[in-house]
Subunit: 237 residues, 2 copies
């Protein structure tokens, strides 16, 4: 019987940054040979292939968008047949690490249920890079994805974060869409305790990257313009 | 006036695994030129340099162990003078990403206070790789470092984790020292709800790596031998 195929979890770029800062040589090795890809969207996956696997004939590759992978669908059956017959499959989200603040986990869970080998690959995560660069507590931390949009609920979430920082010392990370990032920053500066520390991880790995940690009080004196930028927020003490 | 030096946060190996799976070409570029290093311990930092920056003359490098970097110490003064005069400095912990379940954050915080530029680099994190590979919720998660050693306190910690999984759906990650990993696994299997999912990320990036997610009930039927192995535990649903 043939060896089962493996599911490679393949990080994507965080933007159009230089690939030599983001990917290992192994990423090229793996992308050179895989031809069946589960993707969040086809275009960012093709862009990754062009950037990292120069000689690849992309037109010979098969891309399935993950929203098509419904239980019992022909696409799902085809992917599992490929894996069972020994073909390796790559899973790629639009940016960063699949499954981390990005789609992919639901399929990885199915792969575990089917006893497949899952191989996550080293690559860029704006969350991890912001936490490393923040100087905040990296021994205990929580990531919340997006905080609630609605003002009262967002205030409640920010107060819960503040009490946890003061009681347990965890660092709390969250993200916001680029066009609401400035509004989130203003909300934080207007509502949180002046002595808390806020790290902004902005446009990580891009030429415009900055990672700066200051107290809320200091940020109020020198705020940042983050409108339409990719921002990871980290709060701690 | 000279441009200030930058503080590079440089990931180290998770063990003696192949470097082409863990590091970017940029890691070699940076290690080729830096000569002043803040390290958790000198030996693992020298091993990284030998593995990733082949032509480097390591005997020309200066290593300062981070425990020597006390406020007001001659070592601390020297490092900040180097940064202020334009010299780049590398910070390296014994394994994985500095500052994440590893020392380094205290110095990064001082660098921010002094207005230095901090540049975290892409590299291996067993926590992030386990979460990616787990198929558990990566939209919201918490990392707790080590759980309490004492039985009653550990049980309390595991119950708090269970209620948070059931209430909020967060994934909860923690680590354990290799010689207590089996004991921790047995404790989890004996105390937690059979329907919870447990992912074991074992010896990540090493030839013996495995990442497997099963319900507690299934783990009880096919448990794993993790004594003296590097294990990241992830609990979720």
């Amino acid at each position: 019987m043939a060896t089962k195929g493996k599911l490679y979890l393949i990080p994507n770029r965080l933007g159009l940054h230089a690939t030599d800062k983001a990917f290992t040589p192994y990423q090229t090795e793996v992308l050179d040979v895989i031809t069946l890809f589960l993707v969040e969207n086809i275009k960012p996956a093709r862009q990754l292939l062009r950037a990292v696997s120069a000689q690849k004939n992309i037109d010979n590759c098969h891309f399935i968008e993950m929203h098509e992978l419904k239980l019992g669908s022909p696409e799902m059956t085809m992917v599992f047949q490929a894996l069972k017959s020994g073909q390796d499959v790559g899973l790629i989200s639009d940016a960063g690490c699949p499954g981390i603040a990005d789609p992919g986990a639901f399929f990885v869970a199915l792969a575990h249920e089917a006893g497949m080998e899952v191989l996550p690959m080293v690559g860029p995560s704006s969350i991890l890079l912001t936490l490393m660069g923040s100087g905040l507590n990296g021994q205990q931390f929580s990531f919340h994805g997006y905080l609630p949009k609605e003002t009262a609920q967002r205030k409640t979430a920010l107060s819960a974060i503040t009490s946890d920082i003061q009681r347990n010392g965890y660092t709390h990370l969250f993200i916001e869409t680029p066009y609401r990032a400035q509004h989130m920053l203003d909300d934080i500066l207007n509502t949180l305790s002046p002595s808390l520390k806020l790290c902004l991880g902005v446009d990580i790995l891009m030429p415009e990257q900055f990672i700066i940690t200051r107290t809320i009080q200091e940020w109020k004196k020198h705020s940042a313009l983050v409108h339409k930028r990719q921002v990871v927020f980290a709060l701690g003490k």
